[in-house]
Amino acid sequence: MTGPAPHREYTDRLTAGSLPYQSCDGCLSAVFPPRVICPFCGATDLGWRESAGLGTVYSTSVIAPRDADPYPVVLVDLDERFRIMSTVVDVPAGDVRIGMRVRAGIDPGGPTGPRVVFTPEERETAS
């Protein structure tokens, strides 16, 4: 018998083009990264949801390798109330700001396979 394999479920859904997360049937919390038990209430009934992909940059750091272009590492708070580490593309690394509204997309060619990345949302709101 096979049990739940949340990481496999996550990567399958990501590869299909969505930003998946879990929602707890017990306390209604959003749960990320994927788990087999809710870290807020201990319930084991976690259902999958698809994020609308809109979020706000919570923090950002630009890494400047000696031999490559600088890139931002960000934490994004999704509107569904979960946070992920990611990066923001299509904008100079130093232009990424805390409070910036961003939209998720899938980068199929990440260093460890498909990954979620963000682009600035055009109708940027003041933070």
Binding site: P33, S59, T60, V62, I63, Y71, P111
Partner: protein, 388 residues
């Protein structure tokens, strides 16, 4: 069942460093741990034969207590290999006090060693892979600095903390290091030097980061009654507290508030003291933001005021609150994990053995350890005989 009253029931009776700095490719972490252990036991008037409780953690070695026990010829009846990153050793002190107070052991040896600096030439020593797939690795953060950089950026955004505030921390550490013959870097450092240093993971530069050195340390602990018969004046454990809320930085609920807010309250409550009673602070300064965050979370200033608090040399030699009087991880030594060295320096300050960097009349010292990426927080309050 209630826990035993730990306040003053155990004491540190011996502390020592191993060789520090750069020991070269022919020496091993366990040798440094053993060298420090031998020196700490000698200072305590004890030998490896007296040790029946062993506490140790070495990065990348899952069975470090077995390695160390075999090497030293110790057959412990109580062993604790708790590995919560750089906070492990202050956690070990807490656990040793619990074990001694309940009779599980009589003489506890806490020991650590690392050849992190010399290892860089023989391939990087990793902490070992996480058990679960990483949800961060795809974005190529530079662990651990990027986690601290994200916390720094958030602290600046919320509270107006500046890079000059961060630089004040680095400069204060260097001024203390100049007074410590064992410190790895002792040449003068200015605010401008820090501001002009190469950016690694913004807003942190190379000079906002701790050193990478070799080194080890050891601490010997026993019951208060036995401690009073040993050569050194006992340094009593008055209170200890632990807390951790996350491991990955993306799981830290608020990047400006650490679990030190809980660990410190637990330690102060047990000790019956508050921050206003603390004469010297030794805290884990892996990055300059640590000092600012921890001074806030340990209660020395309000949340968000850490930058102003460290300004004007307040934590430097001659300032109101001596912090990291050995020079800290920023300028004294940082061999992979730093957490045993705050205990060693706190002990020396209470004994009055800190030489040119001694604060006169130290009765109460606080030692604080940090592990992971602002993850595990462990606080200990130590005191001399006058504190009981």
């Amino acid at each position: 069942m209630t826990l035993p009253d730990l306040r003053g029931s155990t004491a540190i009776v011996g502390v020592a460093e191993s060789d520090l700095g750069e020991v070269g490719p022919d020496r091993y972490a366990i040798e440094l741990a053993a060298q420090a252990a031998g020196a700490a036991l000698a200072e305590a008037g004890l030998t490896t034969r007296d040790v029946d409780g062993l506490f140790c953690a070495i990065a990348g070695r899952g069975m470090a207590p077995l390695d160390v026990a075999e090497y030293l010829g110790i057959r412990p009846r109580y062993t604790d290999g708790t590995m919560v990153g750089g906070s492990s050793f202050i956690s070990h002190l807490h656990h040793a006090a619990l074990a001694i107070t309940t009779g599980a052991c009589d003489v506890a040896l806490i020991t650590y060693g690392s050849t992190a600096r010399s290892d860089s030439g023989r391939g990087r020593l990793a902490m070992g892979p996480p058990e679960l797939p990483s949800y961060e690795a795809a974005y190529r953060p530079r662990p651990p600095i990027t986690g601290y950089a994200l916390a720094t950026a958030r602290h600046m955004h919320q509270y107006g903390t500046t890079r000059t505030h961060l630089a004040e921390v680095a400069v204060a550490a260097r001024k203390w290091a100049a007074l410590n013959p064992k410190a790895f870097v002792r040449d003068p450092l200015t605010i401008e030097d820090v501001l002009a240093a190469r950016m690694v993971s913004s807003p942190l530069t190379t000079l906002d980061c701790c050193l990478v050195t070799d080194g080890g340390g050891a601490v010997v602990v026993t019951g208060a009654d036995r401690a009073r018969d040993l050569p050194k004046p006992p340094v009593y454990l008055l209170g200890a507290g632990e807390a951790h809320w996350h491991r990955a930085i993306s799981q830290m609920p608020d990047l400006t508030v650490t679990a030190a807010t809980e660990s410190s309250v637990r330690a102060y409550t047990m000790a019956g003291v508050g921050p206003q009673d603390v004469d010297v602070v030794q805290l884990y300064d892996a990055f300059t933001i640590n000092t600012i965050l921890f001074l806030e979370d340990l209660g020395f200033c309000a949340k968000g005021e850490g930058g102003d608090f460290v300004s004007g040399g307040r934590i430097a030699p001659g300032g109101d609150l001596p912090v990291n009087t050995n020079g800290g991880g920023l300028s004294y030594c940082h061999p992979g994990m730093y957490g045993i060295f705050p205990l060693i320096e706190a002990t020396r300050q209470i004994r009055g053995e800190a030489g040119d960097r001694q604060r006169p009349g130290v009765t109460i010292a606080l030692a604080h350890g940090n592990g992971g990426q602002l993850s595990s927080q462990v606080t200990a309050v130590l005191g001399g005989g006058d504190s009981l």
